[in-house]
């Protein structure tokens, strides 16, 4: 059986397979030949890899890599797909720009466009303070609920977004609660009393006109928060009778608010974000769940409800607003209101 015809042929007796002749301590290597086309596949893949080296960026060189004849880079591919997205958006964007807020709310396509755009813009710009779901936090309003400091209609939200709150803008929403304790407007006990009174309102108890808390409230707080303590979105004065407390519902937190006052601030987004983004954000925030009905008609143009288009406005826009400007001015009307309130309850 052993190799008679070929001198070098050495066949393994057990398997009947020819060996390569290599031997390590008596162990021999069998030769089960690979099909020849397999080698050709290997050769073709080598040729392909050479082609790849030439056509695509492949060789690392100082300061980068060879460019390849195709000029392909992933940055270019990214830019191309971004361009594709921008082109796809463009069709909607034009319609969106021409549409009023009312139109957007009525048209399913524009609505979906606004919600998608608003969602991504919210995560980029608003989530830092208001949270990714708009859930807010201590000092940062929850945008999902139905309690709005400056109004929850679509137009209100649009206004707030454009000019901010106590922000660096001529049109910004502005108000200041006095620091009743720090500025010695009220005694510490009086503050305690009025805090207890306000907490009782929030817990749903009826106001007792005879109580000291009621009187302090009417004299000092009612001018902004209203005689019924339901607040006023004109001044950004919160409703004190509801279940929502921006800075916490515990007594010491409310005391702190009355003693030191609060000055929450939101930047103005006009100029930082384009008009379409602000519009999309308005719709998105409104639709988070707390938005109040606007009674908008689809054809009503509410694109820029509070923008003064006069040339003077352009000039004044850049004027810096100092600390002084935020000081509450209208002392006289407050005094008048207090008098009226006192008269009512005597």
């Amino acid at each position: 059986m052993m190799s008679d015809d070929h001198k070098n042929k050495d066949v393994d007796e057990v398997s009947g397979v020819e060996t390569t002749g290599h031997s390590w301590d008596g162990l021999k290597e069998l030769n089960n030949p690979l099909p020849r086309w397999w080698v050709w596949v290997f050769v073709v893949s080598i040729i392909w890899s050479i082609w790849y080296f030439v056509v695509y960026p492949a060789w690392p060189v100082p300061g980068g890599a060879t460019e390849g004849t195709s000029g392909y880079t992933q940055y270019k591919e990214l830019a191309e797909s971004q361009q594709e997205i921008i082109e796809r958006q463009a069709a909607y964007l034009e319609r969106f720009e021409d549409a009023s807020l009312g139109d957007v709310m009525a048209d399913p396509e524009l609505y979906a466009f606004a919600m998608a755009g608003g969602k991504s813009a919210f995560k980029d710009n608003c989530a830092t303070c208001h949270g990714t779901g708009g859930e807010g936090g201590n000092g940062y309003p929850n945008l999902n609920d139905d309690d709005w400091l400056w109004g929850g209609k679509l137009t209100d939200i649009h206004q707030t977004l454009q000019y901010g709150i106590r922000a660096d803008s001529y049109e910004t929403r502005l108000s200041q609660m006095p620091a009743f304790g720090q500025e010695k407007l009220l005694e510490r006990e009086d503050i305690d009393t009025v805090v207890e009174y306000v907490m009782s309102l929030s817990n749903g108890e009826a106001a007792n006109a005879e109580s000291r808390g009621f009187q302090i409230f009417q004299q000092n707080c009612a001018s902004c928060h209203g005689a019924d303590a339901k607040g006023d979105t004109e001044f950004g004065a919160p409703n004190l009778t509801d279940a929502i407390w921006l800075y916490g519902d515990r007594q010491e937190e409310i005391f702190r608010t009355v003693y030191y006052s609060r000055n929450g601030m939101m930047p103005a987004w006009k100029g930082r974000l384009d008009e379409n983004t602000i519009k999309a954000l308005s719709v998105y925030i409104h639709q988070l769940g707390g938005g109040l009905p606007d009674e908008l008609k689809p054809d009503e143009d509410l694109r820029n409800p509070a923008t003064p288009e006069s040339p003077e406005y352009e000039k004044t826009q850049d004027i810096e607003i100092g600390e002084e400007a935020i000081e509450p001015q209208p002392e006289a009307p407050i005094a008048k209101e207090i008098e009226q309130n006192l008269e009512q309850h005597e």
Binding site: N8, P33, P35, P108, T132, G133
Partner: protein, 467 residues
């Protein structure tokens, strides 16, 4: 010299007549007929759906198979089909050996077709061999070019038919004649034409020997009761030439005519015993039976038989074929189980599905009146071919109100979804008297004016489980 790389030996299968060859022709006609013609069968599904009986609509994305219609999320049906196919393959193999390889495998069927073309153009085994070895001449060029041209045409039809399963067949065929085909379709046709031409024209038995994993693990499904093609060594040996009129005493029935080797598409000698290369096509059985008839010996020197049956015969008794074995029983049981599950899924496939996803952030919102509100994204799958309107309600909460956030004035009693599509809505569920603990609630969706309903269990989260 050592050969590290084996050269492919060209195989020229000889023409053969007989029972198994007929079966192979029948299998080829049926399988190729199905493959090439099915895309042209029409099936009326109404105005909002394609009328092709078998269609995979990738852009839709939907899959249609006669009365069955599948959405992407129902792709588990595909999983079921794959499991069924695999187990059915095991089942059949444990009973009858590699009949899949021999009769139905595309590699076998198209190779068989290509060999047939070869034979029609170039003649039978010896003529082909002679032509191949002959020096180049006009005749040789003509015959080989004709063969390859026909092969390419078949390959092109094969590739074209594949693409028809993903497009409306008549439209695509027409656009072919108008030279207006998308680059994707063209790329698929070129790729599949090339692979068919290469695999059936050249690679042939190399696919079974070197590429196919099934050829390698087939023996795991075999047992002593599996039908295999075998050469009856006891009867055949010692083999040798036999002249007419000579006695059959003291010799085997094999006359060493080598016809069984000549007809083999795999180029093996079945008399060497069971081999990995054997695809069990039965052509050697046909060839040998023909020879046995001529020399007036009983048929079946090479035959389909089981090991147990063969051994029993030698002993004198004739044991029956045992089809009922543990192996076949549990393969059968798995097929029945998977088949039943799929049948259930298809019969009770709902034309309406509701899915509810609780908002991640915020998990709940306290409203100014102290009410608790939870937000959910609901998806309504309208699998009918008509526009539908639905009414959504919530079970498990007292004093509940549902607000739908969508364009226009959409109420929970009027959620509409276009035909054959998914509607997505953001709904806010508020409880005026919030429950003390998180609670399981159930969303119920009822189609208006149709008897279709679906429900989805969700959670209503309250302030108490904030921490």
């Amino acid at each position: 010299m050592l050969q590290y790389f084996a050269k492919q030996e060209k195989i020229y299968p000889k023409r053969v007549w007989g029972k198994y060859r007929k079966l192979k022709w029948a299998a080829m006609i049926i399988t190729l007929g199905i493959y090439y013609l099915v895309p042209f069968i029409r099936w009326d599904r109404g105005p909002n759906a394609p009328d092709q009986a078998v269609l995979i609509d990738l852009e839709g994305p939907r899959a249609y198979w006669f009365w069955i219609e599948i959405w992407p999320q129902e792709v588990y049906i595909l999983t079921g089909i794959l499991i069924l196919a695999a187990i059915a393959l095991f089942f059949i193999t444990s009973l009858f050996g590699r009949v899949w390889c021999g009769y139905f495998c595309p590699q076998t069927v198209w190779t068989d077709l290509f060999v047939w073309v070869e034979r029609i153009v170039q003649g039978d085994r010896n003529a082909r061999k002679k032509l191949h070895e002959a020096p180049w001449s006009f005749e040789k060029v003509r015959k080989i070019a004709t063969t390859h041209f026909i092969w390419l045409m078949i390959a092109w039809c094969t590739a074209g038919s594949f693409v028809l399963y993903f497009n409306d067949a008549p439209t695509l065929v027409q656009s072919f004649f108008e030279f207006d085909v998308s680059p994707t379709v063209l790329a698929f046709i070129i790729g599949l034409t090339a692979s068919t031409y290469l695999m059936a024209g050249f690679a042939r038995e190399q696919v079974c020997t070197y590429m196919c994993p099934y050829a390698r693990f087939q023996s795991a499904m075999f047992d002593k009761d599996t039908l295999l093609i075998g050469y009856d060594v006891d009867r055949g040996e010692p083999r040798g030439k036999h002249k007419k009129g000579e006695s059959w005493e003291g010799r085997g029935d094999c006359i060493n005519c080598s016809l069984c080797v000549q007809v083999c598409p795999m180029g093996i000698d079945i008399r060497d015993g069971l081999q990995m290369e054997c695809i069990a096509c039965g052509l050697c059985v046909d060839a040998c039976n023909g020879v046995m008839d001529q020399v007036d010996r009983p048929r079946g020197l090479i035959r389909y038989d089981t090991e147990n049956h063969m051994r029993a015969e030698v002993k004198g008794g004739a044991e029956k074929f045992r089809f009922l074995r543990p192996r076949t029983i549990y393969y059968g049981a798995i097929i029945a189980l998977v088949g039943a599950i799929m049948l259930y899924a298809l019969i009770f496939r709902s034309p309406l599905e509701l899915h509810v996803l609780h908002d991640r952030n915020p998990v709940f919102t306290t409203l100014s009146g102290g009410e608790i509100r939870n937000g959910y994204t609901i998806k309504i799958l309208n699998k009918t071919h008509e526009f539908q309107t639905y009414s959504l309600s919530v079970e498990g909460l007292e004093n509940v109100s549902i607000v739908v956030k969508a364009a226009g004035n959409v109420s929970a009693n009027e959620l509409s979804v276009p035909a054959d599509s998914v509607g997505s809505y953001h709904v806010l569920v508020s409880a005026d008297t919030p429950p003390a603990a998180p609670r399981k609630i159930r969303f119920i969706l009822q189609a208006m004016g149709a008897d279709m309903q679906d429900s989805y269990d969700a959670k209503f989260i309250t302030k108490r489980d904030e921490r």
